[in-house]
């Protein structure tokens, strides 16, 4: 059975890095979710259209050939390609498995900003010691 073209596209856009633990987007099985996200915003046809605009033999050429075809598409149809990127990056970076990798690699917690928020030390007014020595320099009308 042939692989879904959007899955191939996702794997070329976000190919993963096994050494660092980053999964490839297509291999995560995110194509259907991407289509669903597009459908929810009325973009299903546009997303399908940009994928269909790739060369007919896209699925069968080498990975290098697929990357070249995507680069050509990006150059020819930048706005449509931006839409493809929105759904590719969107489905990838909101996937909990990817957020786990983000947490493992960067320490950024896999949780929304609220309700916990973050802690920062209060503003230290001593930082302004030098600026405070400057006389007023706004301009008189």
């Amino acid at each position: 059975m042939s692989t879904d073209r959007l899955t191939i596209v996702l794997d070329r856009l976000l190919p993963g890095d096994p050494d660092a633990g980053w999964p490839a987007a297509g291999a995560l099985g995110l194509a259907d979710k991407a289509r669903q996200m597009a459908a929810e915003r009325g973009d299903a046809d546009r997303l399908a259209g940009i994928v269909a605009a790739l060369p007919a033999d896209f699925d069968d050429v080498s990975e290098a050939g697929q990357v070249a075809a995507l680069k050509a598409l990006e150059a020819d149809q930048p706005d449509a390609f931006d839409l493809l990127i929105l759904y590719a990056y969107g489905v990838y970076y909101t996937d909990p498995r990817v957020r786990d990798v983000v947490e493992a690699r960067t320490g950024y917690p896999n949780r929304p900003p609220q309700p916990e928020g973050y802690e920062l030390p209060p503003f230290d007014e001593r930082l302004l010691d030098k600026v405070k020595q400057r006389p007023p320099f706004w301009r008189r009308p």
Partner: protein, 548 residues
């Protein structure tokens, strides 16, 4: 068309955002009966998506500031294919304050007198000290954290709350500014930092203020002015889309025709009709409201309505650091700013007027990848390396330039699309002027140097942020000369008795800072004048002597 007659009121206000809220409250306190119409709904910020796992997706789509991306039911169509800067606004009770960053600077005294001082732009019919008491009043209601004593600005009253905290990235910027000998100062922010203050929760530094604040720490007029206005007797009608302003045979504004959420039409008659639909929506409505007395649109006898559109053309330079700066904590748009190059220094910048540099904290993972205001990360084999190098390693600086009023930059109508009330799309025609471009070029060079001094090993330049059309100013300007200014110094539309404008449309100049504080202060002043009240006493005389 059948339209139900609403009970007559002293004043009907179109637009429930930053300006409309301030005017409604002030007029109601003066004893006027006030009704307010807004095309958007009430939003419950306690249900804001920043508590959801898909918060970043929502921020990049359904809550995006660009209506062309957001596609919300309340948005009106905007044609933006002849401008390099996309529109950003929000329709709802609270307007764009529902999704703003709450950076709350004031104009400088020179911003009100650019023609007198520099021979460019248009003077305001008032000065900084006319507005100072209204700035202070507005600060009390919105709730402002910050620190008085900034040498780049006139003396001002003590801030109610301390400044928002710096993070690792913004602290590096502060220290670097000191080494460069440059001005910097912690932001005035309309954000509550007092645990028990204002009946709102304290900010917990979650970051994406633009999504709405479930803690009600970040101010927006739905939680500041509107409760006070409603308590004072104001009637607020959400999801009320205005179709036109109606005038009588003599050309006087008499009523507003509006459509409710069920498609039924209403006619709201009032002694005074007040437009507060922002610098794009207000001229759109005026141009559409043609009649025998106003064949080219209300107030448009001299073809001035919609012209002189001013944005704040913005560049953004991001600095990438080798070391991690930690999670993107703290209000994204509020930390610190520099006004080292704010006042005119033509020998240095090659331009008139100036710009502000404002720190922008890091974004979440998806925001980092997509870029938003900055360039997105590359796709392909290098993507994951770029992500690890950028995420939690980046802090940015804006270059927020003062735009000058150019008549060719404008808002007009595009009949190819219309909203549910039959009002055509707003069409934006805009070019970045040579003067603004020079300021941007100068600012990019200086912010790059600032970030390098702070330790950034790589800088990325967005020469003009496409998604930065969040300020629409000057399109129905106020002034003394009736041939040049549609609106008089009290906000009254000269050619149309019974009609006033109180939003950013009336700004003769744009300044080089976020305008909301000035916009609301001026709206309060206009409300006093329109309601027949004596304006508040001018600001402190001693402050005027604190100049070099």
């Amino acid at each position: 068309m059948h339209a139900t007659a609403d009970p007559h009121v002293d004043a009907v206000i179109v637009g429930a955002g930053a300006a409309g809220a301030a005017v409604a409250w002030r007029m109601a306190k003066a004893g006027l009966s006030v009704s307010v119409l807004d095309r958007g709904p009430w939003l419950n910020q306690q249900e804001a998506a920043n508590s959801r796992d898909d918060w970043e997706w929502v921020m990049c789509t359904d809550h995006h500031p660009d209506p062309g991306i957001r596609k919300a039911p309340a948005d009106y169509p905007v044609t933006a294919d002849d401008t390099p800067i996309r529109p950003a606004y929000y329709a709802g009770i609270g307007g764009s304050t529902l999704h703003w960053g709450a950076h709350f600077p004031r104009f400088h005294p020179s911003d009100f007198k650019t023609f007198t001082l520099d021979g460019v732009g248009r003077d305001w019919p008032i000065d900084y000290w006319d507005l100072e008491p209204y700035y202070d009043l507005n600060d009390q209601i919105m709730g402002v954290s910050g620190l008085a004593g900034d040498p780049a600005n006139p003396v001002r009253a003590s801030r109610a709350m301390p400044p928002v905290p710096l993070c690792a990235g913004t602290q590096r910027l502060a220290e670097a500014a000191d080494r460069l000998g440059w001005h910097w100062w912690p932001s005035d922010s309309a954000i509550n930092l007092d645990q028990d203050g204002l009946g709102r929760n304290c900010c917990n530094q979650c970051g994406p203020c633009g999504m709405g604040c479930p803690r009600h720490a970040r101010a927006s007029t739905d939680i500041t002015y509107w409760p006070l206005a409603i308590e004072a007797g104001v009637t607020v009608r959400p999801e009320a889309t205005v179709g036109r302003i109606e005038t009588d045979d003599d050309g006087r504004a008499r009523s507003v025709l509006w459509r409710d959420r069920d498609g039924a039409w209403h006619r709201q008659a009032a002694d005074l009709i007040v437009l507060a639909a922002n610098g794009m929506g207000t001229p759109r409505l005026m141009l559409h409201s043609t009649s025998a007395a106003h064949p080219n649109g209300i107030g448009n006898r001299s073809d001035q309505v919609g012209r002189h559109l001013m944005h704040h053309p913005t560049a953004l330079v991001s600095g990438v650091f080798d070391e991690s700066l930690g999670p993107p904590a703290g209000p994204f748009a509020c930390a610190l700013y520099s006004q080292e190059f704010y006042e005119t220094d033509r020998g240095d910048t090659g331009a008139m007027r100036g710009y502000q540099m404002q720190a922008i904290r890091g974004q979440g993972p998806l925001g980092t990848a997509l870029g938003g205001y900055v360039t997105r990360l590359d796709w392909g084999g290098d993507h994951h390396r770029q992500f690890e190098n950028s995420f939690q390693h980046t802090v940015s600086l804006t270059v927020t330039t003062e735009d000058l009023p150019e008549p060719e930059n404008r808002v007009d109508l595009d009949d190819r699309a219309e909203d549910a009330a039959g009002v055509p799309a707003a069409r934006l025609t805009y070019r970045v002027s040579e003067n603004s471009q020079r300021l941007l070029t100068h600012g990019i060079e200086r912010t790059t140097g600032w970030l390098r001094e702070a330790g950034a090993t790589e800088t990325k330049v967005t020469a003009l942020s496409r998604q930065a059309g969040f300020h629409f100013l000057g399109t129905v300007a106020m002034g003394e000369d009736p041939d040049r200014f549609v609106v008089d110094p009290a906000g009254r539309v000269r050619d149309c008795p019974g009609l006033a404008v109180v939003d950013g449309s009336v700004f003769p100049s744009a300044g080089g800072v976020n305008p909301t504080s000035t916009l609301q202060a001026n709206a309060l002043r206009l409300a006093d004048l329109l309601a027949g009240q004596t304006p508040m006493r001018r600001g402190r005389a001693e402050a005027r002597d604190m100049t070099t």
